[in-house]
């Protein structure tokens, strides 16, 4: 009987010792765990950059179509068939060249998607959940063995497989979450200059379409269409006027899209700054509480595992 009490006491002491050591590490800042709010921030950034990666290419594609349309309008009032055909051919060639450029922009910007993908992966809980099954098996095996031993030796050693599994799971989770935090911190710090550069360049790229002191590509396409309509197009049937109206609406939409894309690039940059601040900053009381909450969550999850194993073996 004395022996059994000792095992129980030892078990409880070990559990509290493990928890206390981890808590002390957290409070002194030796262990930085990936917290829920950091994961939320990563998810926000990830969703934004995923969508964003397609914007610059889409603008070039819209430009390519617009440019072909303007060549068609010019062809419709050309002085001879040869010139008209040449204009159509040129429009097709120009469209092809721009579409290819848009694809290059898409491919280059897709790196933002890959970056958010790796941040997502590093912040995922799959690393910790992967250990659950084997630790659970260990706990169950231990309890099963104790039961067998009790039956054979006619003894009454308390089952402690669940506790061992819970401690092992808790410690492994905290260890992995600390490693995840370090990996994410390094990644965002190293990526930050490139994120700043790429968003600035994307903004500069979009500004060639519409922006102060820019090439004003879209306005020029609109002016070309307007001049053609005012000099030659208005004489053509009503369908031409309707067609021009449609093109004007399209140009208006592209202008709005470019504007929104520029703003989104600025927001993306800002989101990364928030992310890096959130990951890097020294813990204040609120953060410490959150780290402790994360730890408590891990302990709770471990307790659930302990209860599950004990239910299975009782």
């Amino acid at each position: 009987m004395i022996k059994i009490v000792s095992v129980n006491k030892l078990k409880n002491r070990f559990k509290w010792l493990a928890f206390s050591v981890l808590l002390t590490f957290c409070l002194t800042g030796c262990v930085e765990l990936l917290t829920e709010s950091q994961i939320r921030e990563i998810k926000k950034f990830s969703a934004a950059s995923n969508t964003y990666s397609e914007y610059p290419g889409a603008v070039v594609k819209a430009h390519a179509d617009l440019s072909l349309n303007n060549q068609l309008t010019n062809a419709s009032s050309a002085v001879n068939g040869k010139n008209a055909f040449g204009m159509i051919e040129k429009g097709i060639e120009k469209q092809k060249r721009l579409v290819a450029l848009g694809k290059r922009a898409d491919t280059a910007c897709r790196i933002l998607r890959s970056y958010s993908g790796i941040l997502d992966k590093l912040s995922s809980d799959s690393y910790t959940s992967d250990t659950q099954a084997s630790v659970e098996k260990l706990g169950s095996q231990l309890d099963y063995s104790i039961k067998e031993y009790n039956q054979t030796a006619k003894s009454s050693v308390t089952l402690f497989g669940g506790t061992v599994a819970a401690i092992l799971k808790g410690t492994a989770s905290v260890y992995i979450k600390n490693k995840q935090h370090t990996a994410i911190k390094t990644a965002v710090q190293e990526a930050d200059p490139a994120i700043e550069e790429i968003t600035n360049t994307i903004i500069a790229f979009l500004e060639t379409y519409a922006g102060p002191n820019s090439l004003e590509i879209l306005q020029a396409e609109r002016d070309d269409l307007q001049t053609w309509y005012e000099t030659a197009g208005y004489k053509q049937p009503l369908s031409t006027s309707i067609w021009v109206l449609e093109k004007l609406k399209i140009i208006e939409s592209i202008l709005m899209f470019v504007d929104k894309s520029k703003k989104a690039a600025t927001d993306l940059r800002a989101a990364h700054t928030v992310l890096i601040t959130k990951i890097e900053k020294k813990m204040d009381l609120k953060d410490t509480i959150e780290v402790i909450e994360t730890l408590v969550d891990e302990v709770e999850a471990a307790k659930d595992l302990k209860d599950k194993i004990e239910k299975q073996t009782i």
């Binding site: 440019s67 204009m87 790196i111 098996k137 260990l138 054979t152 360049t201 090439l215």
Partner: protein
């Protein structure tokens, strides 16, 4: 060509193109053809200037994306390390399960 020069050239081209389009509508046949050829020439020149500028920007984005690629590669390796740690924990837990099983069978034999 500096950016301000480029903008000035483009502005000039666009303004001449516009004048040509207006003149073409009232000009007689031989002049009309000459004006259209001049328009096509200027239009090609404008397209080339715009394309080069856009291509320059895309090349810049491509070059920066390579820097980010290097960061992703390192982060990917760290993710692999984490998977390896999780696997090691699994292996250790499995090994302990087996040891417990052996120890239990051994104890049964001794008792």
């Amino acid at each position: 060509m500096a950016n301000t020069e480029k903008l000035a050239v483009l502005k000039k081209i666009r303004s001449v193109k516009k004048e040509i389009q207006v003149l073409k509508e009232t000009a007689g046949h031989p002049a009309k053809k000459e004006l259209e050829d001049a328009f096509i020439f200027l239009d090609d020149f404008e397209d080339e200037l715009i394309y080069r500028e856009l291509e320059k920007r895309v090349t810049e984005i491509e070059s920066i994306s390579k820097k980010l690629k290097a960061v992703i590669k390192t982060a990917s390796e760290k993710s692999d390390d984490l998977e390896e740690i999780a696997e090691k924990i699994n292996n250790i837990a499995d090994l302990f399960s087996k040891l417990i099983d052996i120890a239990c069978k051994g104890a049964e034999l001794l008792l």
